[in-house]
Symmetry: C3
Subunit: 467 residues, 3 copies
């Protein structure tokens, strides 16, 4: 059997029994997925996924970064090059390479997600290996051609109550429009991710500003027109269900400039002639501006700081962004968030969800901040930490100071559609294990643990994200 019914539960029999009972109460709850990167085209067009490699390997940076670290060339995994120079085209060859290296994923969440998917969706009972690679390929490939594996059928099978995708303000939301018109009942909403028009270091920033003005009919060459363009575009996104914004800045810095200073800074970054510090200050100011708009329009704000993007120069030059070479960095929150919190930290109507890739900030900075400021909540363990040990540490490092109710449930944050049930299942199991340990060490009563398990699996995400 590929997956065990007691996986991730405590080893001790009495604690495991508690975990089983807690999990039984929540395992079938619908999935609320308030933050992720699935492609809205899937739900709009409802076409079959092409083949096993294109579904599992080529788009999954967790997978290809590990293979690459052990000497497998990205070209041999079919990762497209920027200059169009040839790469592996045969999906079966890609799949075989992946299968032959499956042992590399021992002890990683990728392994847990894949085994869950292989078992529950395709009925495999034997671990993937070089020996059974073709059998795996053939069975998955055949399944993908059936109606049950179309995106909308999977959406229903996964019991997704609502899922958010993430779009740039420049995106016309065409796929969301198609979904809406289709009459299909699946709730797929967008989220406002303005980095391309907020981050002066973003590729094409100046062109993006021009396009931003065209789309919104605002004069985005002036500070007030630019802000107005955001307001209009946020409203447009809300028409497509958006309840949140998302901000992927290199740091958590915020600023609170005077109107004159902000205006001058905007002119500078819009002109293209600006320093690194100008760019950082502009991003910092824009977080505060976005918070101000959120106070007005009720959109939940998410900050995802601390990733050094495209750390590997050669890989970036040859393959582009998001190629598994983003590396976390040390991140400060106490000083960085103060300007924003000074203005809006006490707003009862604002929800600011903060994520981190620097675990040291949980017990030192983020839990103390979230355990005080009404506006601040903690996002779940993110990215490299979306894994059993990472999630356990998240709870151990935050609960004693911030409790459970200053957190917001789980985000799968994925573009790997088939892994969504597996990811939520891991989160639910790890939380049940954590709660079972509190119950068995007599820190929490079991009736309360059932309530908390429900809250962490379902209610908090729904409420925090207003879904």
């Amino acid at each position: 059997m590929l997956i065990h019914p007691d996986r991730l539960f405590p080893v001790d029999a009495s604690a495991r029994d508690v975990a089983r009972r807690l999990y039984a109460g929540i395992r079938n709850l619908p999935i609320v997925s308030p933050h992720g990167h699935t492609d809205p085209r899937w739900y709009a067009e409802n076409e079959p996924f092409p083949d096993p490699a294109a579904l599992f390997v080529v788009p999954d940076h967790y997978i290809f970064r590990m293979l690459y670290s052990q000497g497998v060339r990205l070209e041999d995994l079919g990762i497209p090059t920027r200059d169009g120079s040839p790469v592996e085209r045969d999906p079966r060859a890609i799949w075989r390479r992946f299968a032959a290296h499956y042992h590399l994923f021992r002890g990683t969440p990728t392994r847990a997600w894949l085994d869950h998917t292989f078992s529950t969706l395709f009925g495999f009972t034997e671990r993937l290996s070089a020996a059974n690679a073709d059998d795996y390929y053939d069975r998955i490939d055949a399944a993908l051609r059936t109606p049950e594996f179309r995106p909308r059928a999977l959406f229903e099978r996964f019991r997704i109550e609502a899922i958010a995708t993430t779009e740039s303000p420049l995106d016309p939301l065409m796929h969301h429009e198609t979904i809406r018109r289709s009459g299909w009942g699946g709730r797929v909403i967008t989220a406002y991710r303005p980095d391309p028009v907020v981050d002066p270091d973003f590729e094409g920033f100046r062109d993006n500003l021009i396009r931003f003005g065209e789309i919104t009919g605002c004069d985005a060459t002036t500070w007030s027109g630019y802000l107005e363009a955001h307001r209009k575009r946020r409203a447009f996104f809300r028409d497509y269900g958006a309840t949140s914004t998302d901000h992927g800045h290199p740091t958590a810095r915020t600023a609170d400039l005077s109107r004159g200073e902000a205006e001058a800074l905007f002119r500078k970054v819009a002109s293209g002639d600006f320093s690194a510090e100008d760019a950082e200050t502009f991003r910092a100011q824009m977080l505060t501006e976005m918070a101000a708009m959120s106070v007005g329009d009720g959109m939940v704000m998410q900050i995802h700081p601390g990733s050094f993007r495209n750390h590997n120069r050669a890989i970036f030059n040859r393959f582009g962004r998001d190629m598994g070479a983003d590396i976390p960095t040390r991140t400060d929150y106490v000083q960085a968030l103060k300007p924003l919190l000074d203005r809006f930290g006490n707003e009862p109507g604002l929800t600011l969800i903060v994520f981190t890739l620097d675990e040291t900030s949980y017990s030192r900075e983020l839990a103390p901040l979230a355990g005080h400021y009404p506006a601040l909540k903690l996002g779940p363990a993110w990215w490299f930490f979306d894994a059993p040990e990472g999630m356990r540490r998240f709870r151990e490092l935050t609960t004693e100071t911030a409790g459970f109710y200053n957190t917001v449930g789980f985000n799968d944050d994925t573009r790997a559609y088939l892994s969504i049930p597996a990811r939520h299942d891991v989160a639910r199991r790890v939380d049940c294990a954590f709660l079972a340990n509190l119950v068995t060490t007599h820190r929490l009563d079991e009736d309360e643990a059932h309530e908390v398990a429900y809250d962490l699996a379902y209610r908090l995400a729904k409420e925090a994200y207003k879904l």
Copy 2:
């Protein structure tokens, strides 16, 4: 039952049995409380505590910060405003609000302390909730009017062998004088906390210096007179039992300036015309001066760095200091303590106890420093980390490098008088659980574990603080 006899012990039966045996040997040891913030007036006047809200809610920043983070206004909890604008006056209404939000404390030490207190002092058997809030209120309120709940009766009931309060050098120690004259046998001592006359950023620093001179009869406007004032005032504090000093600086920086430099710096900060860096350097220099005095007069020195005080500007403006808005910051010790350690780190007569709010420093900096320098010892897990997981991490992160004997037992550090037995009990249980795990994994023999348990619960605090 509100509290379970095996709470916080290991889940595994064999390890739990060891923990039970270790705990049985130390559970009834007297409480040595060498560092805390109870009000000496209580012991001096021995008046009843006013009501449940005034006792449990209004003064406890752990409680009201959590409620505030979830949208409860501080005014509605009866927290007094600086400008005297009205706040809730009805203690029962405050209590009900608190009770209705009791679920927020799930998984936090506040919950453990309160349940312990409700159970052992007031005999409650049912968890506090909105439904039983009035019953709780009435029974506690009635108990507080009985002689058994007067401060001195509780002191004896808690089996406190010695407790230290913390006073400013400007404090006349009137309450300590009253205690001394009363003939009561409880050992309540003071501790010298000179921040108001050492930290140029402290509110009223210049006035404090003037007052410091008046009280001591020294010319505190000159560097040598200022130092002499400290020496005299430390002696005065020692007359009231003080064995320690305490220093709450924003960082751990120390300095070792020449006499001329120190003199010039003192003139600058005393004049009121100084930079942030001047203030930091002066605080740094004063830690070294205090160490020099400790070498002379034998007072144990405590450094509590790394808190960004009053982070929430609006809360500070409306309610003042200590309103649950102090946030830990990243703290360096290796460079910061070097000037002081270069002068006094090898002094066998000096005891310098270092605390941290930055757990990352334990295994990287503090355990290696304490495992080498004779003068340096590690204070227990502090503030947000005075909690089961925090204490467990403290032991896991320090023991392998610094051992047990470079630590100093437990500090309750509290102004919540009724929680003192609960806090020491948690510390004793967590240490017994840690030791039981070492025994059960055959890293320590059980006879040794009994000795260590005794040392951690009692002997080390007594010896390190010279009590």
Copy 3:
């Protein structure tokens, strides 16, 4: 009994059973010791060790730093002074002092290593204490005079397949030459540690450069001659079995200067007239130069950054280097390694093994880097972290992101020859416990765990270090 057959295994019976089975499969594997500091003279001359104190206490900084931290003078432990002023000469007196303080090591790895050694090599069954100090002394002293305790006999008894020592480029490798000529079959190889000719802050740097030129016959006063001297000396070291280089820099900084810049910087540091920043940049550049040479000659490169050496000024002045006063510091890798990784991070032929004394970098920086760059691998838990909790955290913090196969097995890193089997045994047990937990929580199948246990105990070290 001093050591228990189940020591360090999980407490839970089912997990312990798995750990026992895993351990049974690897406990008798040969020792591969690719990085350490034993004295090659021992193997060359094969003389008896002098006495218990000289073998166990005087050279072991783990031991004397702990005793010193608790007030024992280094003079009383026989540590030689730089000025030759007298210290304790009586080995039995030193041994008694050590024995009387044996309780200080409770909970530390030193205790585990010593008990293992006392038990398995000398047959002791009773814990060392003041009471049995003389018995211990006499029995150890007698054993050391027997042929079974000569270095080569122990080498074979320890089942060492290969061991690396560490030498300066200025070392003539005389002992290695003696070993080679002796016809003895033990594989003792050297490793190239060029700090004395790479670090401008190293004592005697300029003289070292002159000597470097003489030894190699290169003009080491010019940049190209200096680099050529390295190439020649690396080849010479390879003749004596070296497969690796080792670099003990204060930080992980690397640089990638133009040839002209590098040449100018070399002239500056070689002249003796340089700034702290020049020295840092030169060390940074030399890491990249060493990587370039490794790409050419295949030597594995190790970086051991982050130690503040000789933190205690008085101890350094009186006793010199390596006296237990080296303290870890916060260490950045993401920015620091980028210049080197930009040039060589994608080289499939290069192996760059990175160590850290800053555990916070594992999950945030090092595991993400090693899980991506083909050239980068993670060294095992090092120095203060070469201990059960440190090793457990290493696996917990790195496995989910980097897997097992971007790590390189165990390094004992020791000059304490007799502790080598104990250290490898601890590492094997802790890894088996970690794997048993994965198996028992159904994250890994047991057949895979056996394979991983073998890899971590033996194969990965052999392969990563090309042994």
